[in-house]
C-alpha cells in the first residue's frame, strides 16, 4: 500500500497467497497489508478470486501456499482448539452477502445475539451481557421490538443490521464485509454505509470490503485492490485507483459504472467477446 500519512502497524499481512481448486488457480500470488483503522476494498468480478481471499482470511478455506498474519499471529493453518478459534473470532469476523440465509429462522434475533455474547464474553456477568445487547442494538439502529423478532419478521435492511451486530459481538478488530451491501435497496444501503462509518469512528475497527460496486467502495474504503483472474492488477489509495486507473481492466470497470451521461456502448469497446 502507498503510505497514507504516518505509518501505523499492519493488522493484516498477506504474502504470496495462493489457492488452487483442482486444476483451477483461484488465487495466485496475492500479497498486501492492511493498516489498523484503515479500510481496504478488494474489487473484481465473479471469478476474480476476491471472495476466495476473504474466505482464506477468515479461515473458511486453507491456502495452498502463502502466509496470512492477523494481529501479528499466523493464520495460514486451521485451528483445532476451541479456545484458539474463539480468540481468532475476537480478531476477525465476516459478514456475508445474504442476510436471509445467514440467520436461524426459528430463533428470536436477540436470543441469538445473547448466545454469542455468552460464548465470547463468558467471564462477564449476565447483567453486563444484557446491557451490552442493548448497546449493540442501539449501535446498529435497532430497538427491543426488533430483538424480539424472528428473522422472517424483519426487513432485509434490519436483518443485515442484525448480521452486522452479530459480527461485532466478539469486539473484533477487523470485519470482512463480503458483498454485504449488494442485496440491499438504495435507501437501506445508504443507512448501512452511514452505520459502518459511525462504528469505525467509535471503535477504530478495520474493514475489508469485498465488492463489485465501485461507488460503495469509494464511500467506505481508503485503499483498494483490483483483482482479475486470481491476481492483483492494481492497488493504491481508492481515490487514485478509481479516478486515475492505470490498468486497462480497472479502466474498464470504472467505465462500466452507469452514471449521468453514460452510454453502454462505450464500455463495450474494451470488453471481451465472452
Amino acid at each position: 500500500m502507498p503510505d497514507a500519512g504516518p505509518k501505523s502497524e499492519p493488522i493484516v499481512e498477506v504474502a504470496g497467497l495462493r489457492k488452487v481448486f483442482g486444476e483451477h488457480v483461484a488465487v495466485d500470488d496475492v500479497s498486501f497489508t492492511v493498516e489498523a483503522g484503515s479500510s481496504l476494498a478488494i474489487v473484481g468480478e465473479s471469478g476474480s478470486g476476491k471472495t476466495t481471499v476473504a474466505r482464506m482470511l477468515s479461515g473458511l478455506e486453507r491456502p495452498t501456499a502463502g502466509t496470512i498474519r492477523v494481529c501479528g499471529r499466523d493464520r495460514s493453518r486451521p485451528v483445532r482448539r476451541a479456545a484458539e478459534r474463539r480468540r481468532r473470532a475476537r480478531e476477525l469476523q465476516i459478514v456475508f452477502q445474504d442476510p436471509y440465509t445467514s440467520l436461524d429462522p426459528r430463533e428470536e434475533v436477540g436470543d441469538g445475539l445473547l448466545e454469542l455474547l455468552a460464548l465470547h464474553q463468558s467471564e462477564r456477568p449476565r447483567e453486563w451481557r444484557q446491557e451490552r445487547l442493548m448497546e449493540m442494538a442501539e449501535l446498529v439502529g435497532l430497538d427491543e421490538r426488533h430483538l424480539r423478532s424472528r428473522p422472517g419478521e424483519l426487513s432485509g435492511g434490519q436483518r443485515q443490521r442484525i448480521t452486522i451486530a452479530r459480527a461485532l459481538v466478539s469486539e473484533p478488530r477487523i470485519v470482512i464485509l463480503d458483498e454485504s451491501l449488494a442485496s440491499l435497496d438504495v435507501s437501506l444501503q445508504a443507512q448501512i454505509l452511514n452505520l459502518l462509518g459511525d462504528i469505525r469512528e467509535e471503535t477504530g475497527i478495520t474493514y475489508i470490503l469485498i465488492s463489485h460496486d465501485l461507488a460503495v467502495v469509494l464511500q467506505l474504503a481508503t485503499e483498494t485492490l483490483v483483482m482479475k483472474d486470481g491476481r492483483i492488477v492494481e492497488s493504491g489509495r481508492t481515490v487514485d485507483v478509481l479516478h486515475s486507473p492505470e490498468h486497462p481492466y480497472t479502466k474498464l470497470l470504472c467505465d462500466s459504472v452507469p452514471r449521468r451521461g453514460w452510454k453502454p456502448e462505450r464500455a463495450l469497446q474494451g470488453a471481451e467477446s465472452n
Partner: protein
C-alpha cells in the same frame, strides 16, 4: 396509437393491494424504465402485463397491447401475444433454462412446436439470432449446454430466444442484476442496439435509477404500489419532481467523492397493502405539509414531469455529494 396501454391497473392478493391504479402508455419503439425498490410493485406490473401473476392474485383495470385486451384475453389470444407480441427476459438466466438441453435445442424448440418450422430452418434462425446478440462462433455454440456458458453469455442466449418470435415489445425484469458490471454494460448495449435495429419497444424493470436513465427514453418511478413520477430520462436526473425520486438519487453514493454522510431516506418503505390516508410517501418525506397527510395526490403534470406530489414544483435538484438533504 400506443403499442401498450395500462389503464387503472390494480392487483391484489388475498384482498391486500399490491398495485394501486397504475396507468401508463408505451409507444412503438419506446424504451420505458420502471424503477423502484423491493416491494414497490415494479415486478408485479411486469407480471401483470405478461399475464404471469402469482396464484391468487386478482388484477382489475385494463391492459391493451396492440388492440388486444390482455386481462380479458383467452388462451388463443394470449398465445398470439406471446408469439410475436411480447417476449420476456428474466433476472436469472440459469433459473429460466433447462440445464440438460443444449442451447440449440432450447432455441429451436419454440420455433418447431409453435410455428411448425423444420429442423434445418430452425437451426438457421437460431444461429442468426445468436449472431444478432453478438455471440461469436454461433454455429458451434448450439451444441453447448447452459453450464458451459458464463452468466453474461447465457443472458445473451435468453435475449436471442426472446427475439426468435419477432416480438414488438421486450419485457426485461432486472436482466442484468445478477451479472458483473462489465457484462451489464454489454447486455444493455445489445438491448439498445436491438431496439434501434428492430424498432423494438422495451420495458426495463430495475432498482438502478442511474442505469435506467442511461438506457431508457422515459422513466416511471414506483413507490408502495403506485407510480409516483413519470418523466423523460434525459431530464429526470437533473429535474426530479417527486421527493422520493430526489431522495433515491441523493442516497446513492457517487463516483466523484466520498461524502461524510449519505442522505439516507428515514423510516422504512411502506408496503402497498398498508392503509394510509394521503400521500404514501408522506411519513418519510422532507417536504411534507398537512395536506399530504390527508389528501392523496393524483399523478399530475408539473413542468416536463408527471408527479404524484402536492409540492412537485418545490422538489429540489439533488447535487452530487450534497449533504443538505441529511434528515436521517
Amino acid at each position: 396509437m400506443s403499442l401498450l396501454t395500462v389503464d387503472d391497473l390494480d392487483v391484489a392478493i388475498g384482498g391486500t393491494p399490491i398495485l394501486r391504479s397504475v396507468s401508463f402508455a408505451l409507444e412503438p419503439g419506446e424504451a420505458l424504465g420502471i424503477v423502484g425498490e423491493s416491494g414497490s410493485g415494479k415486478s408485479m406490473t411486469a407480471r401483470a402485463i405478461a399475464r404471469l401473476l402469482p396464484r391468487g392474485a386478482v388484477a382489475t383495470g385494463k391492459i391493451t397491447f396492440d388492440g388486444t385486451e390482455l386481462l380479458a384475453a383467452g388462451t388463443a389470444d394470449m398465445r398470439r401475444v406471446r408469439d410475436g407480441g411480447i417476449s420476456l427476459v428474466f433476472q436469472d438466466p440459469r433459473a429460466a433454462i433447462n440445464p440438460v438441453r443444449s442451447i440449440g435445442d432450447f432455441l429451436a424448440e419454440g420455433l418447431r412446436t409453435n410455428r411448425k418450422i423444420g429442423k434445418a430452418e430452425a437451426r438457421r434462425r437460431a444461429v442468426q439470432v445468436l449472431e444478432e446478440v453478438r455471440i461469436s462462433r454461433a454455429e458451434a455454440r448450439l451444441a453447448a449446454y447452459p453450464h458451459q456458458l458464463s452468466g453474461g453469455l447465457l443472458q445473451r442466449v435468453m435475449i436471442a430466444a426472446a427475439l426468435l418470435s419477432e416480438p414488438r415489445l421486450i419485457l426485461a425484469d432486472e436482466p442484468t442484476t445478477a451479472l458483473d458490471v462489465t457484462t451489464q454494460a454489454e447486455i444493455m448495449a445489445i438491448l439498445e442496439e436491438l431496439r434501434r435495429e428492430r424498432g423494438l419497444a422495451s420495458i426495463f424493470i430495475t432498482h438502478d435509477l442511474e442505469l435506467a436513465a442511461a438506457t431508457c427514453d422515459r422513466i416511471a418511478v414506483m413507490y408502495a404500489g403506485e407510480l409516483v413520477e413519470v418523466q423523460a430520462a434525459e431530464t429526470l436526473l437533473e429535474r426530479p419532481h417527486h421527493p422520493y425520486t430526489a431522495a433515491l438519487l441523493a442516497a446513492r453514493p457517487g463516483m466523484t467523492e466520498r461524502v461524510p454522510r449519505l442522505p439516507a431516506i428515514p423510516g422504512r418503505p411502506l408496503a402497498a397493502g398498508d392503509p394510509i390516508e394521503g400521500c404514501r410517501f408522506a411519513p418519510r418525506c422532507p417536504l411534507v405539509i398537512d395536506r399530504c397527510r390527508s389528501e392523496h395526490p393524483a399523478l399530475a403534470p408539473c413542468e416536463q414531469s408527471l408527479s404524484r406530489c402536492w409540492r412537485a414544483a418545490d422538489v429540489k435538484v439533488p447535487e452530487a455529494g450534497a449533504e443538505q438533504l441529511d434528515h436521517a
